[in-house]
């Protein structure tokens, strides 16, 4: 047998092995446990309800709210401007332009934070950027923005200030009139507000 025949046989046998190999998905973008833990410590992947209210009131053009609950729940109630991508369909081809992009800041939310955190971790695992999770979910949204509780008479001025802002946001989102609170302390001199923390990470 000459060399050419031997080489041909070698190539064909390697090719046959290649054809028999199972299809395997190897991704070099691995979600490192260390990175994940750091995010959890620094809370960089979270957006608080106050920050979200601020973004919504200011009509931040880079904000995209994504409701990861199913469509029935979405139909009953959803945040203004939110689109519905049920968690099960998150990685469908048609939604990829929404979750794998660099121009918007996506905020996932669900009733609590379980579904939205899963969505956030899935997107991070795939290396998608600019995806955040609403801290506390819709439950926190209702508890803090829609029906804010008065912090009590012993509250610090920061807490009262935050309450006033939440109350104003509540009016903005529900359209209800400002309920005058008889028990509230007399108006305090205006406190310079701290500049709100912008949504962190991504390309901002």
């Amino acid at each position: 047998m000459n060399t050419r025949v031997i080489l041909t046989i070698i190539f064909i046998s390697f090719g046959s092995i290649a054809a028999m190999l199972p299809k395997q998905k190897i991704s070099s973008i691995q979600l490192e446990a260390d990175d994940l833990l750091r995010d959890i410590k620094l809370r960089t992947h979270l957006v608080s309800t106050d920050e979200l209210a601020d973004l919504l009131i200011n009509h931040d053009p880079t904000l995209l709210l994504i409701d990861v609950r199913d469509s029935v729940e979405y139909g009953k109630y959803h945040l203004p401007g939110a689109i519905n991508i049920p968690l099960k369909e998150l990685l469908d081809e048609k939604w990829l332009p929404y979750v794998d992009q660099l121009s918007k800041h996506n905020i996932f939310y669900s009733n609590g934070t379980i579904l939205s955190s899963e969505a956030g971790i899935l997107c991070r695992q795939l290396g998608f950027k600019n995806n955040f999770v609403l801290e506390g979910g819709l439950n926190a949204w209702f508890a803090t923005i829609i029906k804010p509780e008065h912090p009590g008479s012993m509250a610090t001025s920061e807490e009262l200030d935050q309450y006033a802002r939440r109350k104003a946001a509540s009016m903005y989102f529900t359209g209800s009139s400002a309920a005058t609170d008889q028990n509230s302390a007399p108006a305090l001199p205006p406190v310079p507000r701290k500049k709100k923390k912008r949504v962190q990470g991504g390309c901002s």
């Binding site: 290649a18 054809a19 190999l21 299809k23 395997q24």
Partner: protein, 200 residues
């Protein structure tokens, strides 16, 4: 070193150095295969010497098998291997121009550099000519832009278009290549010409 998983986090400078070494290797391989000889290259078109076909196809199937096996053992991420984007019409026009230049000049772009490196004067003129061509194309790009961009298909792989697994396509291509090598040997016998390299 992009897709190679163990070399994910090396510096850009080292990356370029590795690319340089691979480039040198490519040049040496071309020279070893005798591709600095115009007679050998043009022989492909006349059928008396099919080394070009055999070398490039062997290289392609070797690299293809290498990628498939490296990917299987988890050393390479095929998703981030760059796949050239496919524009149908510019690929056809470019192929015709390249083929014509191949026969007329006796070199293809890569081999012209290996031949120039070993001191062949015609290859140096060939390199100069291709540089002028690149310059003219760059300066008059607006005329060709529409043709260049037409028929865009994106970064597609043949296996994706056929809807088969990469491994099956690899086996298919190896079988096709083996058949072609056999045909090429027949052509070499039929269109045989005496080697006159020593006389000129």
């Amino acid at each position: 070193m992009g897709p190679l998983v163990p070399l994910q986090n090396i510096s850009n400078e080292l990356n370029l150095l590795i690319a340089f070494v691979i480039g040198l290797g490519f040049g040496i391989a071309l020279e070893q295969a005798g591709f600095s000889s115009s007679r050998k290259l043009a022989g492909m078109f006349y059928g008396y010497d099919t080394t070009v076909l055999k070398v490039f196809f062997t290289a392609a199937i070797t690299a293809m098998l290498g990628l498939i096996f490296l990917s299987f053992v988890g050393l390479i991420d095929l998703d981030i291997v760059y796949v050239n984007e496919y524009y149908i019409y510019s690929a056809i026009v470019g192929g015709v121009i390249m083929g014509a230049g191949f026969i007329i000049g006796g070199f293809c772009p890569g081999t012209s550099f290996t031949a120039a490196a070993i001191g062949k004067i015609d290859a140096m003129w060939f390199v100069l000519g291709s540089m002028i061509g690149i310059f003219i194309f760059g300066e008059t790009y607006s005329i060709f832009q529409e043709l260049h961009m037409s028929g865009y298909k994106g970064a597609v792989k043949v296996s994706d278009v056929l809807g088969i697994r990469d491994g099956y396509f690899a086996l298919l291509l190896i079988l096709v290549a083996s058949a072609m090598f056999w045909l090429a040997e027949l052509a070499e016998k039929k269109f045989r010409r005496d080697d006159i390299t020593k006389e000129i």
